[in-house]
Symmetry: C2
Subunit: 309 residues, 2 copies
């Protein structure tokens, strides 16, 4: 692959509290604001508490999920008296950190999230974003503790609904397991390390370091699986099976147990072998998602370096 060069990446936004009860980002951002961290070498840093009302109430959102509000359509539609708070807030964030797709947008937007699922250190990014993919490769090479993995989306930026899509480049740092509303030091430390490494990468990039290409692995969504439900009440009738619980990223084969019904029966995986993700994420009950099923893919990256002015 041909090497690629990019202009310097001098403006980064670190966001937390996009979901108000995911505590790593809330406390990382608050601490950076307290310490007045706004510059590291060549990189200027904007820290943002994305959903302050939800953070105050320690809930995911107040009216609608903020992290589903950043499509071009939602950012440009009409605003009325009944527009949810989060959609208004999305416009504010887009004005502050974007506008999405414009030259004024921050160079990198890094959004800090937590999950109750045993996802370890996981980046969520776009398969066409070579900068983010290189940062992922760098974090993977530097973090020693758990495996560092990535979920890769392959949708156009205009349809991307989450906050990180407002930056020229961007990704979500998703760390778990951690109960929502709880702050665990181990998870906080992991999220902070990944964020620090991202900023370190930007500094190296800006100072002229070339980053070699190569292959990275990631997971792409095949389908989502809902809980078994009572057809009358719509209540769930089963929990994630103990053999699947906490086994995110462990290949599911045909016949492997996936649910244990409340009356004791086992529901098994059917169809092709796939990797389960976000197994038993608290916030996905209302979205009718017990887990995602994904396949593993390999992406080949070009070597990259900074473009001389």
């Amino acid at each position: 692959m041909e090497p690629v060069s990019f202009p310097p990446l001098s403006r980064v936004a670190i966001c937390g509290g996009t979901h108000g009860n995911e505590m790593s980002g809330v406390y990382i951002v608050r601490e950076m604001q307290k310490q007045k961290v706004d510059q590291k070498g060549s990189v200027s840093i904007t820290t943002v508490l994305s959903n302050p009302r939800a953070v105050d109430a320690c809930i995911r959102y107040t009216e609608t999920d903020l992290n589903r509000c950043f499509t071009d359509a939602l950012l440009s539609g009409p605003i009325t008296d009944s527009t949810p708070y989060e959609l208004r807030r999305a416009r504010e964030l887009n004005a502050q950190l974007g506008p999405k797709g414009s030259r004024e947008a921050v160079d990198l937007l890094c959004d800090l999230h937590n999950t109750t699922a045993n996802m370890g250190m996981c980046l969520i990014l776009y398969s066409f974003d070579w900068i983010s993919l290189h940062i992922y490769k760098y974090i993977q090479s530097k973090m020693t503790s758990p495996p560092v993995r990535a979920i890769l989306f392959d949708i156009p930026s205009s349809e991307a609904y989450s906050l990180e899509s407002v930056g020229k480049h961007g990704f979500t740092i998703e760390v778990g397991p951690q109960p929502h509303g709880v702050l665990r030091a181990d998870i906080f430390n992991m999220a902070k390390e990944a964020m620090d490494l991202s900023i370190e990468w930007l500094q190296k990039f800006n100072s002229g370091s070339a980053f070699e290409g190569g292959e990275v692995e990631g997971y792409t969504l095949v389908r989502s699986v809902d809980y078994p439900r009572d057809p009358t009440t719509n209540d769930i009738t089963a929990a994630i099976h103990p053999q699947l619980q906490d086994n995110d990223f462990k290949l599911l084969h045909k016949g492997d147990p996936v649910f244990q019904s409340f009356s004791g029966e086992t529901v098994k995986h059917e169809g092709e072998d796939l990797y389960p993700l976000f197994v038993n994420e608290c916030a996905y009950y209302e979205k009718k998602i017990a887990f995602h099923l994904t396949k593993k893919i390999t992406v080949t990256l070009p070597s990259i370096s900074v473009k001389a002015d």
Copy 2:
């Protein structure tokens, strides 16, 4: 110790959803109601979803913590237009399952709870309640999975604030770790097993089995510890230290780390050696409790058997 006899224990109440986001009890009770479980041998069973409004919203409570509403004073005080929903609901539950302290009260009230702390299988009971202590001893002897432990309160029934105090005898089954709003099959199975063993014990007791006395161990509260806080904003400035996290019931010695501040300093345990409990329970942030400190005590139980009519 002299053997003691009690009248038959024929009426048990199984309660779940006293905290609306603690899911084991919610789903155990719903499943029993669906299966119309209302009698097992000599034991009639009443199943109750204690806080239906909080269960529907999947939150701990709507206006005030229901499980702090069952003191004699709160159950008999005036009711006005501004009385919180949970206090009204406590009166309803007291009328249905009590009245507390009366001959009409259910013989045993078993309330199902979850915690985000790594408490394993823990019963919370009163050190003067020999029936509950014997059931604890029985569960301990029968459950093979994790250690079964007990927190012992030594307050008069009139001052006991939680739901199980409405029964003639009663205890809380507290199982964790489980994020609030999440249902884990392993935790569900443990809670259900402890509940089933409690009912099994009542049947054996009623049918004339004698239960030998002996010693049981439990933990009693010495004091609670709050998070370090910023004196101006009152925000927490530290998380539970990774070496304390998940180590409930592991003796804390002087100098052991208990908090990791967001700027990286370690706060250490001071004073006598004590056992930490409910370490990093989600719902205790608002109560300003990072963990409880307890000491281990031994209680000697008399042999007990049913009193002939």
